[in-house]
């Protein structure tokens, strides 16, 4: 017989967690080995309680190491933004649920819109007639149910099964410390019927994105502002922020905002990396071009003077 935790605890399958807890405590007291109870029975009680506890535990996503396995499970994926991952935001996940009757065929498994064949039982009449001179008696054909036709094709929607895989949505928080490519695990019972593994697919949110394990905020500024090391406005997890560029800051380098990055599992935070991309406009107005030339000449001269002097 299949292991039925409800039967072992002596409660009905619809019992809530409080009822389960009460049943377990009461039975555990009675059958505890210390009181001369059978060890196997006690272990079965304990196992039943653990199973049901897990089933009633609030659904929670866990970071999963290794490769998905188990008897029944679903491998799905979760599209999230870098910000959501970094802060462990609540997201909506879709998980399998109990099958639902196919709406197209109403559970018959036959395609109602598909080709039909004449019912040979009633010869397409839908009724079987027993006629006499004074009256006609008709009964509904038991084979085609009175339609006179038999549907030939299986329902294209459910492919003859009469039911479709159900789905339901759950609002769950992403676990802190999850990173792109990680696999998240939703145990069975907690939310759905089977264990679900989600592969995290992280998309950039604005200028924020994961590069490897790091959360990077990228800013694009024109070269002159970079040259002048002007303040830049960068996007952080806490919103836009003005940053000073250090005087010796060079292209390709990153700014590091200490403990402003994504949360770790233990509640601490990683760093946020700010990368500055510089762009160089390709056409200038003649006036700007002249000014630029002027500046270039001036700077070159200054350079030469510095080296000679």
């Amino acid at each position: 017989m299949k292991f039925d935790p409800y039967r072992i605890l002596g409660i009905s399958p619809g019992a809530d967690i409080e009822e389960i807890r009460r049943a377990f405590r009461e039975k555990a007291r009675r059958f505890h080995p210390d009181r001369g109870g059978q060890k196997e029975l006690f272990l079965a009680l304990k196992r039943s309680y653990e199973i049901l506890q897990a089933r009633h535990a609030p659904a929670r996503l866990e970071i999963f190491k290794g490769r998905p396995q188990g008897d029944h499970y679903v491998l799905s994926f979760l599209d999230v933004t870098a910000r959501e991952v970094a802060v462990g935001a609540a997201v909506t996940v879709v998980i399998p649920d109990k099958p639902v009757p196919c709406p197209h065929c109403g559970g018959s498994g036959q395609n109602p819109a598909g080709p039909k064949r004449r019912c040979l039982f009633c010869e397409g009449e839908g009724v079987i007639e027993f006629s006499g001179p004074e009256r006609r008696l008709c009964i509904v054909c038991p084979r085609c149910g009175g339609k006179g036709e038999i549907l030939v094709d299986i329902c294209p929607k459910c492919r003859g099964k009469g039911e479709l895989a159900g789905e339901k949505e759950l609002e769950l928080s992403l676990p802190l410390g999850a990173r792109p490519g990680d696999i998240l695990y939703l145990p069975p019972g907690a939310g759905g019927e089977v264990a679900v593994f989600f592969e995290l697919q992280v998309h950039p949110s604005g200028c924020l994105n994961f590069e490897g394990e790091r959360l990077v905020s990228r800013v694009l500024i024109p070269f002159w502002r970079f040259a002048l090391r002007e303040k830049v406005t960068v996007e952080t997890l806490e919103g836009p922020e003005d940053l000073d560029l250090p005087a010796d800051f060079q292209p390709g380098q990153s700014l590091v905002l200490s403990r402003r990055g994504p949360w770790r599992a233990d509640g601490s935070r990683e760093d946020l990396y700010v990368k500055i991309d510089v762009f160089f406009p390709s056409d200038f107005s003649p006036k700007a071009r002249n000014k630029l030339k002027e500046l270039a000449e001036f700077l070159e001269k200054e350079e030469k003077d510095a080296s000679t002097g």
């Binding site: 188990g70 380098q253 590091v256």
Partner: protein, 897 residues
């Protein structure tokens, strides 16, 4: 959580094995401290433990393994020599590891105990020391010293980052600094004195000796066994089964009680042994299934599709060799599903599907076989395109394509050199696929079947036997030779006697057997084997399932059911598709194993033919005698009643307020007329009709007269074979009882009840004035007998009944009747025989005879007329029967007068 526990269990098992080996290796190491190979082996083992511990996040375990590995790497590279002290330290580390593993096995968690941390510090210091020694001895530069902690990350070059990184690893540096402190203080002598500081980890009692870290005894629950050994065991078990079979046969010949007992015991043990050995070879199919998440993810990514993978029944067990063999076919099918089946997200949305496709991998046991399904909800397979492709490839002609059924067209996929993809992709390969898949599956004794709906998806279903080596089989004979049929294909056995042969029908060129209303094609084994068959009186029919359909095989004799050991046929026979192999029988002789799928293919049964036969079979069932359409209804909810549906003129519903009680009669306004109502409880000893808002009316009509039964609920109308029990209820108005739909059901005599309600309801059509005509009714079914007798009596006849032709004949000898009404199909003497006999006797030659059947056909009518029957009527058509009977009597006696 169950899943992680499983993995953990595996890990613990593996770790325990490794640790046992480590102990031995360390002992050897003391003998040969510079054995490179030995050191490498130890290093690898520790490295594995470290890796797995890291995977599970067991920090202490990982750290101990890490430092031990550190020390070992120096030993291995020959930078330091393994002295007693080092080996001691390493052994201690192994003991700690054992203690942690033991704790993990018990609680699933690492033990929280300071002794472990203390030891960790010791070990780290020691590792540093060894590293120092290695540096001193070797020519390595200082920078190269491997100081990093297990979690150390590579640092990057850019300056501002480095600043940050240093800050980030501050704690680590601190820890290192802490660890360094004692090292700086400690001289070599100090090290020695500090060594006996024995930690006391874990609950298990460590030996109280000096220098003894915790000694934990790890009980072994698993051992590793060479697969070859298991295969050999399996073969031996096979041989044992053969010997057993032989012995059992000999023992049954020599009837010696003691020998019988002994062989029986041997037989039992052999079976059990074989089962157990088989079990050692069983593996969950998850071993293959669990590779697919990765494959599916990669494929989905590379094709830009979105796919949910659903795994069902990964714990289903199969023989190891089969699992190995289906790995590639399965991979191919999964690739096919993603590549050809599931559409890209945009296309899916356009056709009204969710953007994410679903791929289901499902395994389950079904009748000694394992079914594996690969199901996708993709675009399905376009049969037209397949045909087109097959024409292009020259596999079929356009004319063939025209006449080809969808199922046949689908089978083209399995032809060598066929690929449906418009463009060959790097995923599904170049059309070497499905034919190879099919060949591989069939090699395993399995079958493959595709179900597809264009636009909705495809399911590929593989049926695979659980094991290949020993199978239960049915042994049959044909012309003196024995053949074995695998039991998995067997559905049922039918003995062919003259009686059951009636169910064999010839349709087209094929023969069919009607098995409980289902038409099953049959074929003779002798014909397939091509041997000359002697005509036989008693043959047997073996109903087999070839995966796609059932068919019957006619054999001479059914011998026995036996466990057989499958031996492959030599390569000269491999093209003979009707044999799957050979086996050695109990008497030491050989028998060929029939390949059920091969035979079904050889006889080339067309699914269309079978469908046609089935349709005809269904029609035949309709025309069959004694099948009755009956109407089931309730008066009170507890009691179920039945009447022949044919008697009911109409069914209707009325509201309770439409019922009126006028002049002592209950009536209802119906179609502009007052119709009398019969409440059955007034005439029968039954529960009364409960008060309801709405009632059902069963309306009966006779000419202008109408009357209705008032009932509470119509249960159903069904077609059934009525087997009436007349003895239980001998009540007027009840014909008898029968079990219908699991309920005792009373069959009501409608005519009787109506007559009880209103004796003048039925128009008397008795032609003779002085006395009523005497009718002899011959009918074997009590149900019909009573019913017909009742309506004849109600119509004013005097009725005498007989249960069959012979009884009627006897009654005709003793009494005189005006007319004979007879059924055709009756035991002992049927209606035709009776009619012939009557016509042959001078005294009765003029007796009018009317035959009643369930349904009259022209052929029956002709045969009846030949036998001398005057009238032919359908039993249930009361009015027609009465009219015809009156006419017949008028004709006969008017003539006589």
């Amino acid at each position: 959580m169950g899943f992680e526990e499983d993995v953990l269990k595996d890990f613990i098992t593996e770790a325990k094995e490794n640790l046992e080996r480590l102990d031995e290796e360390f002992v050897e190491l003391e003998q040969r401290p510079e054995d490179k190979e030995l050191l490498s082996s130890i290093f690898r083992t520790i490295h594995t433990i470290k890796g797995t511990a890291g995977f599970f996040g067991f920090k202490t375990l990982e750290a101990i393994a890490h430092f031990a590995e550190d020390i070992l790497s120096k030993l291995r590279d020959g930078l330091v020599v393994a002295d007693e002290e080092t080996i001691d330290m390493l052994l201690k580390a192994v003991d700690y590891i054992k203690a942690i593993i033991a704790a993990l096995e018990e609680t699933g968690k690492e033990p929280v105990d300071d002794t472990y941390l203390d030891f960790l510090v010791d070990l780290r210091n020691f590792a540093e020391k060894v590293a120092k020694r290695a540096e001193g001895g070797g020519a390595e530069a200082k920078e190269a010293s491997p100081k990093e902690a297990p979690a150390a990350e590579a640092s990057q070059a850019s300056s501002p980052e480095e600043k940050k990184e240093e800050k980030g690893t501050e704690t680590k540096e601190e820890a290192q600094a802490k660890a360094e402190a004692p090292r700086e203080e400690s001289s070599k002598t100090e090290e020695k004195t500090s060594k006996p500081e024995v930690p006391k980890p874990a609950a298990s009692a460590p030996k109280k000796e000096d220098k003894s870290p915790p000694q934990v005894h790890l009980t072994e629950t698993h051992v590793r066994v060479d697969v070859k050994l298991l295969d050999q065991l399996m073969n031996l078990a096979g041989e044992l089964v053969l010997s057993r079979n032989r012995l059992v046969q000999i023992a049954s010949r020599i009837s010696d009680a003691e020998l019988q007992n002994a062989t029986q015991n041997l037989s039992l043990v052999t079976t059990e042994l074989q089962e157990k050995i088989m079990k050692t070879r069983m593996q969950p199919i998850g071993n293959v299934f669990n590779k697919f998440p990765r494959i599916v993810r990669d494929l989905a990514r590379s094709t830009g599709k979105k796919v949910n993978l659903r795994i069902e029944g990964a714990d289903t067990e199969l023989d190891r060799s089969i699992i190995d063999a289906i790995k590639d076919p399965l991979t191919h099918l999964v690739r096919n599903s993603i590549d050809h089946g599931i559409e890209d997200p945009d296309t899916r949305v356009q056709v009204g599907k969710p953007p994410v496709g679903t791929l289901v991998l499902r395994a389950y046991h079904e009748g000694g076989q394992v079914v594996i399904e690969i199901e996708d909800d993709g675009r399905g397979i376009d049969v037209r395109k397949i045909k087109q492709k097959a024409i292009e490839k020259g596999l079929i002609t356009p004319a063939e394509a025209e006449s080809m059924s969808d199922r046949e067209a689908l089978a083209l996929i399995f032809r060598p050199g066929f690929s449906t993809a418009q463009k060959v992709t790097n995923i599904s390969g170049r059309g070497v696929g499905m034919d190879v898949v099919k060949t591989n599956v069939e090699k395993l004794g399995g079958s493959i079947d595709i179900q597809t709906v264009l636009g909705a998806g495809t399911t590929v279903r593989l049926k695979i036997p659980l094991t290949l080596a020993i199978i239960p089989a049915l042994v049959v004979t044909c012309e003196g030779q024995r053949y074995a049929i695998p039991q998995v294909s067997l559905r049922e056995l039918v003995g062919l006697s003259p009686e059951t042969r009636k169910n064999i029908h010839q349709i087209g060129d094929s023969e069919f057997f009607r098995l409980r209303g289902e038409m099953v094609p049959i074929v003779r084994l002798a014909k397939i084997l091509g041997v000359e068959a002697q005509p036989r009186e008693n043959e047997s029919l073996v109903i087999l399932n070839s995966g796609a359909m059932d068919f019957g095989l006619v054999v001479d004799e059914i011998w026995d059911s036996e466990e057989i050991v499958v031996k492959p046929l030599g390569k000269h026979f491999k093209d003979i598709s009707i044999f799957a192999g050979a086996t050695i029988m109990g008497d030491g002789k050989m028998a060929l194993i029939l390949d059920v799928v091969g035979i079904s293919r050889k006889i080339g049964l067309k699914v269309e033919d079978v469908d046609r036969a089935k349709e005809e079979g269904a029609q035949a069932a309709y025309g069959e005698e004694e099948q009755q359409f009956i109407l089931l209804f309730n008066v009170s909810p507890e009691e179920q009643f039945a009447i022949p549906l044919a008697l009911v003129a109409r069914l209707d519903k009325i509201k309770a307020d439409k019922l009126e009680f006028v002049g002592g009669k209950e009536i209802v306004q119906y179609r502009g007329r007052s119709m009398p109502i019969i409440r059955l409880e007034n005439f029968l000893p039954i529960q009364p009709l409960p008060e309801q808002e709405e009632y059902h009316l069963l309306v009966f009509a006779e000419g202008e007269n109408e009357v209705a039964f008032l009932v509470s609920r119509i249960v159903d109308s069904i077609q059934t074979h009525v087997k009436l029990d007349e003895r239980l209820y001998q009540i007027e108005g009840v014909l008898g009882s029968a079990i219908v739909k699991d309920k005792t059901t009373l069959f009501l005599d409608v005519y009787k009840i109506i007559e009880m309600h209103d004796p003048n309801f039925f128009v008397k059509i008795v032609p003779q004035e002085e006395r009523p005509y005497r009718v002899l009714l011959a009918e074997d079914s009590p149900f019909f007998r009573q019913m017909i007798a009742n309506y004849l009596v109600a119509a004013g006849y005097e009725v005498e009944t007989a249960a069959d032709g012979l009884e009627a004949w006897e009654k005709l000898q003793k009494e005189s009747f005006d007319v004979l009404v007879t059924d055709i199909e009756m035991p002992r003497m049927n209606g035709l025989e009776l009619a012939k006999k009557i016509r042959a006797e001078e005294r009765l030659a003029d007796l009018p005879i009317m035959a009643l059947t369930s349904l009259a056909g022209e052929e029956d009518r002709r045969r009846g007329l030949e036998a001398g029957i005057d009238e032919y009527q359908v039993k249930l058509e009361r009015a027609k029967v009465l009219e015809a009977l009156a006419n017949l009597l008028n004709r006969k006696y008017a003539k006589a007068a």
